[in-house]
């Protein structure tokens, strides 16, 4: 059972005063500052009960100097979804509140987005690289990442 974005928007705006959302197709754009409140509401609201963060990732738009974080939320209790949330961040210092305190399932996914895109998640309990090694420089999924010379010998990690 799918949840129309407009219906979700109305429910959020009615419950949390002062939050402004923007719907684009099936997406709901959330201001980065409102993310925690919106997510807490979406998880707790009895008619939504979005208890499951299926997918969390980032998208890089260097030409517009922005970085988006995408959340695909479903409800296991009510068997409905998805609700797709997006937040728009400044690419020079992409920082957004972590949703790991709300959904444990975001823990590794946020670490992955931090590792590959350099998005900082405030309030994450253990924000370290997960796929690349400690001491690796840069964020390889960014569009402007230059792949190093494959034939050059790798520098040892001290």
């Amino acid at each position: 059972m799918s949840l129309p974005a407009e219906q979700v928007k109305t429910a959020i705006e009615r419950a949390i005063p002062g939050v402004s959302l923007h719907v684009e197709g099936s997406l709901v754009w959330v201001a980065p500052g409102d993310l925690t409140r919106v997510c807490q509401f979406l998880k707790g609201a009895p008619e939504l009960q979005l208890d499951y963060v299926a997918d969390l990732t980032a998208i890089d738009y260097p030409s517009e100097n922005r970085m988006d974080v995408v959340y695909h939320l479903y409800s296991m209790a009510r068997k409905q979804g998805p609700v797709t949330l997006k937040v728009k961040l400044d690419r020079t210092n992409p920082t957004v509140a972590s949703v790991t305190p709300i959904w444990r399932g975001a823990e590794y996914q946020e670490r992955e987005a931090y590792d590959l895109y350099g998005v900082k998640f405030d309030g994450h309990p253990d924000l370290r690289r997960i796929l690349m090694w400690e001491g690796f420089k840069g964020h390889p999924m960014r569009k402007d990442y230059v792949v190093e010379d494959q034939d050059a010998p790798e520098e040892s990690v001290a």
Binding site: A54, K79, P82, E107
Partner: protein, 378 residues
Amino acid sequence: MAEQLLNTQLLEVNIGPQHPSTHGVFRMQATLDGETVVRLKPVMGYLHRNHEQIGEGMSYIASFPFTDRLDYFCAMTNNLGLALAIEQLAGIEVPERAQYIRVILAELTRLVNHTAVTGFLLNDMGAFGTPLLYAFREREKILDLFEEVSGSRMMCNYVRPGGVREDLPQGWLSRVRGLVAGYPQFLDEFEQLLTANEIIRQRTQHVGVLSRELAVSASVTGPMLRATGVDYDIRKVDGYSIYPRFTFKTPLGTIGDVYDRYYVRILEMRESLKMLTQALKEVQETGLFISPKGAAMGKAPRTFRPPKGEAYGRIEAPKGELGFYLVSDGTPQPYRYHIRAPSFINLTVLEDMCLGHKVADVIIILGSVDIVMGEVDR
């Protein structure tokens, strides 16, 4: 009194990365108090090849062979996941017969995966060789069928947007019927050795218990979630492909320990066999195996430009929810290509399940999560 005189200290042990029971190159940094685990941090990424970046640099269809190498036990379902996301993005229809072929392949893949993981679990428990070889004997029969349709046992690269790559070979369906008819006998034999086995019960019951609340909140999916008693199967919830036509039950566990995970997988195989029987009854021997739009895309992949937009396609893969997130900017390459890998996210709760258990149990708990590093590290 004697305890106060003993001077003990915590011991740091690295289990892996090169270890036969870590199912690939995977490391667990464990802190032990005697034999008991007090802290355990998974370390991964040894097999990382930035599959997503590779996918963003090539046409949509060129990613299919790479998806085979995600979870290399389940190439068919990986292909299916990506195909569904592309179909959603570009609005491609799938002919009826191709849908049946896909369901047959997906359920055979589930048999392959669950059979193999059960064999490996027994290996981890110390029953070296025998159960694993029983499992691999059966798995090989299914891989032979995969080889017949796709040309490769494991790297199948067979499902395509709009259908499947080639038509089924002559007599293939009747060979599948033969396999499906014989499989319950193997499962009975397997279960006779394992399900009521006292040693297995002692080693697995109440070990690695995962609570229902934690499982849901930590995005655990697949047999691991259902072993905790949460009724959530994407085949039923989303009803993708033609799954709503099939009658099958969702086996559920009660307490979410290693034994429940083992038994849920056995029961899921029996449900898959039911689905296969039904699909093999209803599938047509001849007909379209790919839609014209899908076939055209396969012939000229660089001309395929889906409209601007995005899609999140997900399936119930044998290990859990496998999702493909695609963002199109109207060019032949995806602007964003992301994979939600079930065994990667299922590892989130590994430490929670292991705390307070002995080192030997850690190996079994990891085995029951059912990870494949190709998918975890991508």
